[in-house]
Symmetry: C2
Subunit: 208 residues, 2 copies
């Protein structure tokens, strides 16, 4: 069973924590981009590496034993701050901020830079899958109970340019514990990847 | 068309560049992990953030205009150092080092920590897709000509624990420009995700 945690902290505390840790993750995202693209010489790299190692040692003085997990507040709000796609504390996450419109569509606009590359100048096909998997899972969810991917498939129409991107997804059908969702990724020239998936509410979350 | 670059540098230069930039990326990977897991207070975070921003500014003094791309050496060796899965210069990449055995199976052993989380304590389903997409693509490739994902599907048997993981894939069939590959991801309790895909040699790489 997955260990979703209930955090007994106030909305004010959440905002205070966000104000401390979100800008840190954003700085690390900039550093990731610079690490892929830098052309400075060995001596400058050595100084930068020493600065980075100093920051890491400072941050590790007090840290979680394991991963961040997923925490629920008493308000019902979910803190998935460590998540690889949406986590505001996770520098690997772009992060994607998912919106929900009144028609039931979930969507997001986001930017992918050099760190998400596969084919030259283009998004890694697996990164497209990563983000669409998350988005379809959110579209298949009711926002409270988790749903996990059962099966998912992707069809690549063409390579996706790095840059400003859009993705959207919606539930297409519900059959018992299975929710079907479909969606796509698009760059500024149109749809590049189509996705279809079946998402399942875990047995332990069904109240059985 | 994708811009694969031919680099006119020697094997010695490649090793020199690797010795400069690979340890930098490894330091940033440690920093990413620390950023997700740190519990130090705001004052320490502020100092760490200043160190990180200084390192970023130093690395950006001279940098590529865009992404790293994929470069081929005169020897035929491929430098995909910016790649989101295997890139030794890309801190987002674990990085995965793909091996090929004599039976035609491609495989990799790697570690995924807190930054790759989806469900609490477990690998994001989309991260599993990211790595399997890349591995199946390598298995479907002849190691020289690129093959891009046409379609790929994933079946999740159960959640994958964060930690030491194994993945493997092999070509199952070739039909003209289409190569079919299949594989799986496993944690220390066995197979967690199965994948099947069709990979296509781009028209411009077919010599047509």
């Amino acid at each position: 069973m997955l260990d979703f945690t209930l955090e007994n902290i106030s909305a004010e505390d959440v905002e205070r924590l966000r104000a401390v840790y979100e800008p840190l993750a954003q700085s690390v995202r900039e550093l990731i981009d610079a690490t892929v693209r830098t052309q400075v010489e060995a001596a400058d790299v050595a100084v930068a590496k020493a600065e980075i190692d100093a920051a890491t040692a400072r941050l590790r003085r007090k840290q979680l034993d394991g991963s961040f997990g997923v925490r629920y507040l008493a308000s019902g709000e979910r803190m998935a701050w460590g998540n690889a796609v949406i986590g505001i504390r996770n520098p690997i996450a772009p992060p994607v901020e998912i919106q929900h419109d009144s028609s039931g569509t979930s969507w997001c606009d986001f930017h992918l830079g050099a760190a998400y590359e596969g084919p030259p100048g283009h998004v890694h096909g697996g990164v497209a899958a990563l983000i669409l998997d998350h988005l379809l899972g959110e579209a298949a969810s009711d926002g409270i109970n988790p749903r996990l991917t059962g099966t998912i498939s992707f069809r690549y129409l063409r390579a996706t340019r790095l840059g400003d991107l859009h993705a959207e997804a919606a539930t297409t059908r519900v059959d018992g514990v299975k929710t079907f969702a479909a969606g796509h990724l698009a760059d500024d020239h149109g749809v590049t990847v189509e996705a279809e998936g079946v998402f399942i509410q875990p047995r332990w979350a069904r109240g059985e």
